[in-house]
């Protein structure tokens, strides 16, 4: 799927407000991308444009090189039914309906005529995969938040969609449920080639399932890169702030006080570097003292990222030499 120069604007009291501006993005089979950005930056609108839920003001959406922008309402409805699955933070379940009836909805609008018995069988099968088959005939409003979200995910996956869109779909879940949902999505991705586009601020979601991260600000993608690159070497201020926030989700940030004759440096180790004794090598090689202020290692989907904040003391020349050496060792660093 390709998004080309996608723009969405709306009028508010005669002022034209731009929610999404000239977005270009390619989505690939079996890949997951996380959309990140501050509140009100246009993430949800962007997701809705991808899912043909909102109409772009300009730009094109290509699926398998076919522009679907000019599709009829009926054709778009077909794509929403067969091509996309949608999960939202507030579940979007219909109260008064059972879990079975909620999950059944996409099947009712499918072009394939499926008899009630087969529909129920299929629904039961997907509910089993989200461990909700024992609640199939319960009214969804009787279910807990985590259970409702599982039902919502089952509904999104019932028609074997090609792209799953998740608008903070796991943010209301406890860590254990989040983990099991992420396993389920990873399984769907690996088995059926599902592409996942998700809005999330959860570190574990990005670590466990995402290949790429797109940072959106004021409706524009300001940074797009692999998870490793974004974590190791964020380019924009917004990305840095987000990554920093994500890191601090799992550890306390140390209150840093700069001492005279020392430098505080943030080091990022990617892949094998994360497991090397870089700091001890540096101490042996140069006449510097190193004080470790904080550190962590994040296990990403395909690699590891280590982060270390150190204080280097010594002569200016030795400190500069140490920094140059770290750069040569492919360690990403930032003097704070």
């Amino acid at each position: 799927m390709q998004l080309i120069d996608l723009t969405n604007s709306y009028k508010n009291n005669n002022d034209e407000l731009i929610a999404v501006k000239n977005v270009n993005l390619d989505l690939y089979k079996r890949q997951s991308i996380s959309i990140m950005g501050p509140s009100g930056c246009g993430k949800s609108t962007f997701l809705n444009l991808i899912g043909l839920i909102q109409k772009p003001t300009s730009g094109n959406i290509l699926i398998n090189s076919v522009n679907v922008n000019d599709y009829t309402i009926k054709q778009k409805a077909y794509l929403r039914n067969k091509f996309f699955g949608y999960v939202a933070q507030n579940y979007l379940l219909i109260d008064g309906y059972t879990a079975m009836e909620n999950v059944e909805i996409p099947l009712l609008y499918s072009n394939q005529k499926i008899c009630k018995k087969d529909r129920r069988k299929k629904v039961m099968s997907i509910l089993e995969s989200v461990e909700m088959s024992n609640k199939a005939y319960d009214d969804v409003k009787e279910l807990s938040g985590g259970q409702q979200q599982r039902v919502a995910i089952a509904r999104a996956l019932i028609n074997n969609p090609k792209i799953l869109l998740s608008d903070e779909g796991t943010s209301a879940l406890d860590p254990k449920t989040t983990k099991s949902i992420l396993n389920l999505l990873a399984k769907a991705r690996n088995e059926f080639g599902l592409t996942i586009v998700l809005i999330t601020h959860q570190m574990e979601v990005i670590k466990d399932i995402c290949d790429r991260v797109a940072i959106i600000e004021n409706g524009e993608i300001i940074e797009l890169n692999t998870v490793e690159e974004i974590f190791a070497n964020p380019q924009t201020k917004t990305a840095k702030a987000f990554i920093s926030n994500l890191k601090t989700n799992s550890q306390e940030e140390i209150n840093i006080e700069r001492k005279p004759g020392s430098k505080i440096i943030r080091l990022s180790f990617l892949g094998e570097n994360a497991k090397q004794p870089i700091v001890s090598k540096m101490i042996k090689k140069f006449n510097v003292d190193v004080n470790i202020l904080s550190g962590n290692i994040n296990e990403l989907m395909s690699t590891s990222i280590g982060n270390l904040i150190i204080e280097i003391s010594g002569s200016d020349i030795e400190i500069e030499k140490s920094i140059e050496w770290l750069k040569k060792e492919n360690i990403r660093l930032e003097v704070i």
């Binding site: 949800s44 309402i73 949608y86 939202a88 979007l92 008064g96 909805i105 609008y109 028609n159």
Partner: protein
Amino acid sequence: MVHQFTFSIRDITRKKYTIILLIFQFIFSFIYLSITGSQVINSIKIKNYFDKLDKYNITYYRFSSIDLNSNEYKNDVYSVLFDAIEQNYAYSAIPKDPEINSQYKLIVVLGAFNEIFDLNSLYKNNDTETVCYIGKNVDLEIGDSILIGERKKMPVEVVAKIPSEFKYAVSNRMCDYENTIVVSTNLKTYDELYYMILFAESTMLVNPSQELLTECQLAVEKCNADLLPVSLMQYKNNMRSFLFEDGFIAAFLFAIVVIFVLISSLINILQIIEINKREYSIHILYGATVKKIYLRTFLFVTSITVPIIIIYYFILDEFLSGVQIPMYVMILFMCISSVLLTFVSLREFINNDIYEYYKRSE
């Protein structure tokens, strides 16, 4: 279609108490509207009917201190009145005993009665023919015959039913025809069938000339009596004011109240649909087309309107005979209102992004 019908039934069952109340609100509104509408229409008809009477100066001459039956000069009085009747300057509406049913009232009418009170518009009667008209509560049909007469019996055919807005003036008041059998005849036949009791007292002069008045006066004076003119015009105007202005305004105001109740009921339906829009948007999100949502909403609205028609016509029929809105009008109204309600309620929904609706929290 089947799925949408099922969903619309669920829309109903989820709000069943609200919808049952709404249905009854509609039914009672229609009943009230039927009654007031009927009153308003009747008032307008009465006004139009009374307007027609304006061209006639109907003057009743009350005979005082006179007993024509035992007076030797009675023939002079009769002669004057006969002339006036034959020249259409007078009419008579003489009460007689209705032998077929004591609950009915029977009047025999002569002279200009048919022309003034518009019975000619119901049946074109020639002056020599004796026919019968009936009020709306008289249990006879057009074509039936009844026997009339005191001196001898004669069958008379019912030729028309008299609409409720028709009235007639006799003595010093306006009367309605509801329980009345009106026998229209000529003087000759009347003389053959009936005695002259109450004839003079039941005769009204119409636009009488001075000459006719003088002639009448002279004839009555011979009987040592007075002829007191009583104009019906003022009474007629009062009646018109009472029946039309007061009745019409009251009914009109009441109809406005009922219309507001109907509007609030419609708004209630729109609000129920508004609440349902979140669910509709979820269906669209998972593949429903707008057409299917229209169909579902139309079925939902129709599921409310159909019971209204059924209950209105088949359950309350006995209580509302005569004032019901015609069936075809109701069906047409319900179809149009169902379609309009569907389109009005979904217009913004379709024009806006569905996101606006499903992002709403519960």
